[in-house]
């Protein structure tokens, strides 16, 4: 009996420390758009409409996502590339157009959660065949709503272990990615 108490307290303390200090202890981050509970922003954006329905590639707005280190957010001008014309007969389009005219030049920005010593290059991952949804699709991929569709992003909940597991070929086995570099200097400086 007593030995069980001892073992139990050991495990409890270990998990407690892990919870307190590890990433699991942080509340899940929410995206920057109109997800319920997110702070109100300049322009609410609907990913599901622009992505799946219209067939736009992620890189059309996040211009760096297939070629640069950062994916970047679009500027107002990038939105106006298409929205300079009334795109549908939907009643809301007039409201949208007037909102766009009043919008700031850079409607979205966020503080990076990546530490300064990490080099993450979106382009090289896209070049290797990783699709945007593999990281940003998030957990709720099983038929139901995907994370980016409700404007939350999965990439922020990643830690080094997640990156290393894929680089070592332990996760995403069905995608058939080739083994990526796992030496320290591949991603750190």
């Amino acid at each position: 009996m007593k030995i069980f108490i001892v073992i139990f307290s050991l495990m409890f303390a270990f998990l407690w420390a892990d919870f307190l200090l590890g990433r699991g202890g942080e509340p899940p981050r929410e995206g920057v758009s109109d997800f319920p509970g997110a702070p109100s922003l300049a322009i609410p954006f609907n990913h599901a409409l622009h992505g799946d329905s219209l067939g736009l590639d992620c890189a059309a707005c996040h211009t760096g996502s297939r070629s640069q280190a950062h994916a970047y957010f679009p500027t107002r001008k990038d939105c106006m590339d298409c929205h300079r014309l009334p795109l549908t007969e939907n009643a809301g389009i007039e409201k949208l157009d007037s909102a766009l005219e009043k919008a700031p030049e850079e409607p979205w920005s966020k503080a990076s959660v990546l530490p300064a010593h990490v080099v993450f290059h979106h382009g090289v991952h896209a070049a290797a065949g990783v699709s945007c949804t593999d990281c940003h699709g998030g957990v709720k991929t099983s038929g139901a709503v995907r994370n980016y569709e409700v404007n939350t992003y999965g990439g922020e909940k990643f830690d080094m272990k997640t990156c290393l597991s894929c680089h070592r070929g332990e996760t995403f086995k069905d995608r058939g990615y080739k083994r990526a570099a796992t030496y320290c200097a591949a991603c750190h400086r």
């Binding site: 290059h121 382009g123 090289v124 320290c184």
Partner: protein, 300 residues
């Protein structure tokens, strides 16, 4: 007569608290009175410090002949690259422009006046024996073997890299480098107003970590990432990155072209072309460790 348990514990804790408070006085006072914190030093100070270092350089280099570096022995696939440099001792006149360029490229901090008086600078390149000397990126590096956390590690491309965030400051690597090529951040350079971020691509190091020449790892990384991204769309391009066209900051700055950076395993590399027909030399104490940064001597 004897102290009872309670008194003993009370005395102990009082002593501990008193000692701790007293010991922290430096920290508290420094925050109030230290005006240097957060100040960014002027660029000229960096130039002056390099000149001071040049005037104090005394050490000599004891060179022996070594064969040309071959591919590294690695577990698994061998990389087609092995980066290194060669320094032509005949061409070098000890001007020190390479040191300044390196310091600016890598945000190397200044040191306090006491350290400068003793010749303990943070410069990654030192002039020894009339030629620039820096980490030789040994193929079988003694420093990497003894790092307890794995912060000092080797890339398959032949670079001996230093991961600052993984460093716990045990200084075992510093003890084990036969040529003392490594520098230790004794001070928190930022809070003493000694560091300046010339180059945004390179992170500033915190107090307590070792640093050394990285062969401009950030330039190589950027080039490799760009190449791999573009090769996915480039029709008919070869998949191997050879690092062609990348130059280290010291190589760019040398007016006499005494430093040549390149790829020992690439026949097209300026490094291989520069050493064809010449004997390569390395410091005697480094020769058994398969260094990648070698020297050319006059007429040989």
């Amino acid at each position: 007569m004897g102290m009872d348990r309670r008194d003993f514990l009370k005395t102990c804790s009082l002593l501990a608290v008193g000692g701790l408070l007293f010991g922290c006085r430096k920290n508290a006072l420094s925050e109030i009175s230290d005006g240097l914190a957060g100040r960014i030093p002027d660029e000229r100070l960096f130039e002056e410090e390099v000149r001071l270092a040049l005037s104090m350089s005394r050490k000599e280099l004891d060179l022996v002949a070594v064969p040309m570096p071959k591919a590294l022995e690695t577990k698994g696939e061998k990389s087609p690259n092995r980066f290194g440099m060669v320094i032509d001792m005949a061409a070098c006149n000890g001007c020190g422009k390479c040191i300044l360029a390196c310091n600016r490229e890598n945000n190397v901090p200044l040191v306090t006046e006491e350290d400068a008086a003793r010749g303990r600078f943070m410069h990654w390149i030192e002039i020894r024996g009339g030629a620039p000397f820096m980490c030789a990126h040994c193929g079988s590096a003694p420093c990497e073997k003894v790092c307890p956390t794995g912060a000092a590690s080797h890339t398959p491309d032949g670079l001996s890299t230093m991961m600052y965030k993984r460093c716990t400051g045990s200084r075992f690597c510093g003890a084990n480098c036969p040529m003392q090529a490594r520098k230790f951040n004794f001070n928190d350079a930022k809070s003493l107003g000694l560091s300046r971020q010339f180059n945004k691509e390179v992170p500033l190091r915190s107090k307590g970590v070792m640093e050394k020449c990285s062969l401009c790892l950030h330039r190589l990384q950027d080039d490799r990432l760009r190449f791999k991204t573009e090769s996915a769309v480039a029709p008919g391009a070869s998949a191997e990155w050879r690092g062609r066209g990348v130059k280290t900051a010291c190589m760019e700055a040398c007016p006499r072209k005494a430093i040549v950076f390149g790829n020992w395993l690439d026949g097209e590399s300026p490094l291989v072309k520069a050493v064809s027909g010449r004997t390569l030399y390395a410091p005697r104490s480094l020769a058994p460790f398969d260094p990648s940064v070698l020297f050319l001597m006059e007429g040989r």
